[in-house]
């Protein structure tokens, strides 16, 4: 058995740990390193959904109704995929409009209406207070059970100053004030609080799994054993959903929890206000359901295990989670489980009170101060500093009220029943919100009356019965109905039977709510302000970029007034910062005497909304602005204009982009053309130059022959030279024509099947004489057997001859001709000589036309300079490549030709 001192020490130790986590993450966030802005932390912080109700209550529910409790977790998991559609939209709207709570959201959507915001706040408070109180109850009970395991003392009768729960509640209030109300801006994010809540989510999950594993695998022998034991004790009925109303129950409970996970104030706080990046939803959409699944796996085993172990029915099933480890005297496990339950309760209390205090200060207290002229003139100038204090006080009040409620009422009900009552209350906001973001015609009156009617029914069908049970109202109300009319019995309106009281209440309140919302919206007229907000909310993804300029407003404001207003709420320093930011963003300087334009007024209102809520901000801005009412037609006109301008602008941009593309292309083409032109000029000048040399000599010798009387031998010699020169010219012209044909692509190859060996040997043979005359050593190395190849025989011969003749011109002592067959289906031919070689810097140009001719410095201009260019063309036409390199100290020209697959086969066959 654990001593009381130890338990208290651990409890406050745990709170201290939370303080430390929150403190250090705030410190590191100040230094710019934010741990909270992270999808995993985001998903964990959403698990604030799982409260003490989940932790203790699920087991209690499972012990009586089997799997039915699971709807509360299946609903959120089913709706999770839609977060991308619904939550993302809500997040975007809230960020853009500076919305900080669910009440603010609804009031902002329906024309920044104070009444609506106030009513939503009030109902939220009424709906959530019992929920907070059961968390306190769960903590108090678990604390109690730790000390008196099987027969709990009636803690409810202890005066509050002896009650540990009271001190815990105060401690929690301090924590919440410290980390939840740092800033006057309600839209500000609370890094420390988020990290603490994420930690608590992880902690409660691990603690619950620990006790689950303990019960399943240490007390019993795995899942199978537990289910077998349960069957033996006739607990079979828990294995299936019972009753003829099962289907309706299951369906409505799923719907209820879907709405709860979207619209509970604490979920809105964590999911929307504390969201730092819409992208985090992507991970949360599957991580959060996974969390729910994990925390629920062991619920049934624990419930059945408890039922089997405590078969005499002395122990409340809500406490099985703790009672089982206690019964087996596992002290440390008990402590862990207790702290897990504590963490589940505290995270809910912290986040809910922050959300509620924001709502109450921004949508109830400040509007009341502002509406009343006397109070307004008294507080207007110091409201900024007071907002934070109002919130702090509210947090204390909420927690103390919850404590009182626990003492007076909720002590008598199970965890789940009170929790479900809260869920139904929250579900009343669903029509106004979902309708508000998808349906432009949803109107303020419709939302207002829908919510009021829904709530009245909720109070009558769910709250009144608990008051009766607590003994404050006569029993006859339940049995005979209000004023004795049986159609008004709280649990069976219109005599409707056969639903559980929760489903019954949900069905009636929600359907009346939706009906009124839709019908009144259809018949009532929206004001221009309302319509404007409706358009912005529904089409937020269209407007979020041009928001300030697209909001419609007509009127005049004096700039110093606006500035004073912001100074008031943000403090001088921050206000100036905000104005500077605005001036930078829009590029409009704010000089002192000017009137503020509508864009600036809207901007100020938005900033102010983040601090005191949209409805109050409207009042404050309205008080310094002379506003003119404008018609809906004008609203629509201006909105349409902005939209049209935007799309026109987009079109223009696209057009100019296309134009630029076209002009770039043109320029490119022009460049190529110019280059080609230049090459052509150069080519012609080189060719004419080359022609000039033989023509000059032909002319010179012809003149000699004509003029003088020469001996026959000389005549013959001169004529011979003339013929030689003419031949040279013919060759040159042939080559130029050849090259031109290759260049223009008109050259056709006459491909034929040729024996490579014979081809190479023939080419080599015709050069033998030349080498012999020049006294050069000539080697041929053929490194392949029979090989047939499809080529233009004459052309390839021309290439080989050209290379050999080049080699013969430059070689000093020897020339080698190599040919071999390479693995990648190609024939490689090399011509090597031991001449002076090609200078490194000329290698890239050596295959250019007339390269040699242009470099007349090399002393002997042998050949036209077209041979290599033509060779390159021929090889490339065959699909091969040619290059020059150095090999074993010799200059090496090598070219490759592709060998066709099927030819190779036949040639290897012929081997």
């Amino acid at each position: 058995m654990l001593s009381k001192g130890l338990i208290i020490a651990f409890t406050f130790g745990y709170l201290a740990l939370l303080f430390a986590i929150a403190f250090f993450s705030e410190q590191s966030a100040k230094k710019g390193k934010s741990y909270a802005s992270n999808p995993y932390i985001y998903a964990l912080s959403l698990a604030v959904y799982c409260t003490a109700w989940t932790y203790y209550g699920s087991v209690g529910r499972a012990a009586t109704n089997g799997l039915e409790f699971l709807t509360i977790y299946i609903g959120p998991s089913l709706v999770a995929p839609l977060w991308w559609i619904i939550m993302r939209k809500i997040i975007r709207i809230s960020k853009v409009q500076g919305i900080s709570s669910i009440a603010d959201f609804i009031s902002s959507r329906y024309g920044k209406n104070i009444t609506l915001g106030g009513i939503v706040t009030l109902f939220c408070f009424l709906g959530i207070l019992p929920y907070i109180s059961i968390q306190i109850k769960a903590v108090a009970n678990s604390f109690d059970i730790l000390q008196y395991a099987e027969s709990p003392l009636p803690v409810l009768n202890v005066p509050f100053y002896q009650d540990t729960a009271f001190y815990l509640a105060i401690g929690l209030a301090f924590f919440t004030v410290l980390f939840g109300t740092r800033d006057a801006e309600a839209t500000a994010q609370h890094e420390g609080m988020v990290m603490a809540v994420a930690f608590e989510s992880l902690f409660k999950l691990l603690a619950f799994i620990a006790v689950g594993v303990f019960v399943t695998y240490f007390v019993y022998d795995g899942f199978r054993d537990i289910f077998d034991q349960a069957s033996l004790r006739n607990l079979d009925h828990l294995f299936i959903l019972q009753g003829e109303h099962g289907p309706t129950e299951w369906f409505w409970m799923s719907i209820l929890s879907m709405l709860a996970v979207l619209f509970l104030p604490r979920q809105f706080q964590m999911g929307v206000v504390e969201n730092s990046n819409e992208k985090h939803l992507d991970k949360a959409m599957w991580l959060f359901p996974l969390y729910l699944l994990l925390i629920n796996i062991f619920v049934i085993p624990i419930a059945l295990g408890g039922l089997v172990h405590f078969s005499d029915g002395n122990v409340d099933a809500d406490t099985f989670v703790l009672a089982l480890p206690i019964a087996y005297e596992k002290n440390w496990l008990t402590l862990l489980v207790y702290l897990g339950g504590f963490s589940a309760a505290t995270s809910m209390i912290i986040v809910s009170t922050i959300a509620l205090s924001n709502m109450i200060s921004n949508n109830l207290i400040i509007p009341i101060l502002l509406v009343n002229e006397k109070l307004k003139s008294k507080f207007q100038n110091e409201l900024g500093g007071r907002v934070v204090w109002i919130r702090r006080a509210t947090i204390f009040v909420i927690i103390l009220l919850a404590y009182v409620y626990y003492k007076e009422v909720s002590g008598q009900f199970s965890l789940v029943s009170i929790g479900l009552i809260s869920f139904v209350a929250i579900a009343q906001f669903a029509p106004a919100i979902i309708g508000g973001i998808f349906w432009k015609n949803g109107s303020r009156l419709g939302a207002l009356w829908g919510i009021i009617a829904g709530f009245t029914l909720w109070i009558y069908t769910l709250v009144v019965p608990t008051i009766v049970t607590a003994g404050f109202l006569p029993e006859s109300l339940m049995t005979d109905g209000l004023w004795g009319i049986s159609a008004l019995k709280p649990y069976s309106l219109l005599g409707m039977e056969g639903m559980s009281y929760v489903t019954h209440s949900l069905y009636f309140s929600l359907s009346i709510n939706i009906l009124l919302y839709v019908i009144i919206s259809l018949i009532s007229e929206q004001s221009s302000k309302e319509h404007n907000q409706a358009l912005v909310f529904v089409d937020i993804f269209k407007y979020s970029t041009t928001l300030d300029s697209s909001i419609v407003w007509k009127g005049q404001a004096y700039l110093p007034d606006l500035k004073a207003l912001l100074h008031n709420f943000l403090g001088e320093e921050k206000a100036n910062l905000v104005f500077d930011e605005y001036a930078q963003k829009t590029g409009k300087p704010l000089d002192k005497n000017r009137y503020a334009d509508p864009e600036l007024v809207n901007f100020c209102e938005r900033i102010l909304s983040g601090v005191i809520g949209s409805a109050s901000a409207r009042i404050m801005v309205g008080s310094v602005v002379k506003e003119e009412e404008i018609s809906i037609e004008e609203v629509l006109g201006i909105l349409r204009e902005t939209q049209e301008l935007k799309s026109l602008n987009l079109q223009l941009k696209q057009k100019s982009k296309e134009l630029k593309k076209v002009s770039d292309k043109l320029q490119e083409m022009n460049e190529t053309l110019r280059l080609n032109d230049m090459l052509k000029d150069e080519f012609i000048s080189t060719v004419t130059h080359e022609m000039k040399t033989p023509i000059t000599s032909i002319r010179a010798f012809s003149e000699i022959l004509l003029d003088e009387d020469l001996p026959d031998a000389d005549k013959k010699k001169f004529l011979h030279i003339i013929i030689e020169e003419t031949n040279r010219m013919t060759r040159l012209i042939d080559q130029v024509l050849d090259l031109e044909r290759f260049d223009s692509g008109r050259q056709k190859l006459s491909l034929d099947r040729v024996d490579a060996k014979i081809l190479i040997l023939q080419a080599a043979e015709s050069m033998l004489q030349v080498f012999k005359e020049k006294g050069l050593k000539f080697d041929i190395q053929l490194d392949f057997e029979d090989l047939e190849i499809s080529i233009d025989e004459d052309r390839i011969k021309q290439v080989i001859l050209n290379l050999l003749s080049n080699a013969s011109k430059f070689a000093k002592t020897k020339v080698i001709l190599e040919a071999k067959y390479e693995e990648e289906n190609q024939l490689l031919v090399r011509v090597l000589d031991d001449g002076k070689g090609v200078p490194e810097e000329e290698i890239p140009y050596i295959f250019d036309k007339f390269f040699q001719a242009k470099n007349q410095t090399s002393k002997k201009p042998i050949g036209s300079g077209l041979g290599l260019a033509i060779s390159k063309k021929i090889v490339e036409y065959h699909g091969g490549s040619i290059q020059v390199l150095k090999k074993d100290g010799m200059t090496c020209f090598e070219f490759s030709l592709p060998v066709q697959e099927d030819y190779k086969k036949t040639s290897s066959l012929s081997n």
Partner: protein, 69 residues
């Protein structure tokens, strides 16, 4: 474009889940029988639940636009 496809897939998944984990389909496995030693109802509810989570993960992975943005 991708955003649109993502929304459609997610809507589809929502309706799939709603069908599988609800009556009347639920009555198919709401029976007094055991599956691997676990009552059929428990087995199937948790199995389908997990399936939906995996499908959500898969859809998000598949339509992740940040990679090619």
């Amino acid at each position: 474009m991708k955003d649109k496809a993502k929304s459609q897939y997610l809507w589809g998944l929502f309706f799939l889940g709603l069908c599988l984990l609800n009556y009347p389909l639920l009555s198919l496995y709401n029976i007094q029988a055991k599956w691997l030693g676990v009552p059929a109802l428990y087995f199937w509810v948790f199995f389908i639940w997990l399936l939906i989570i995996i499908l959500t993960y898969w859809i998000i992975k598949k339509t992740d636009s940040s990679k090619d943005a």
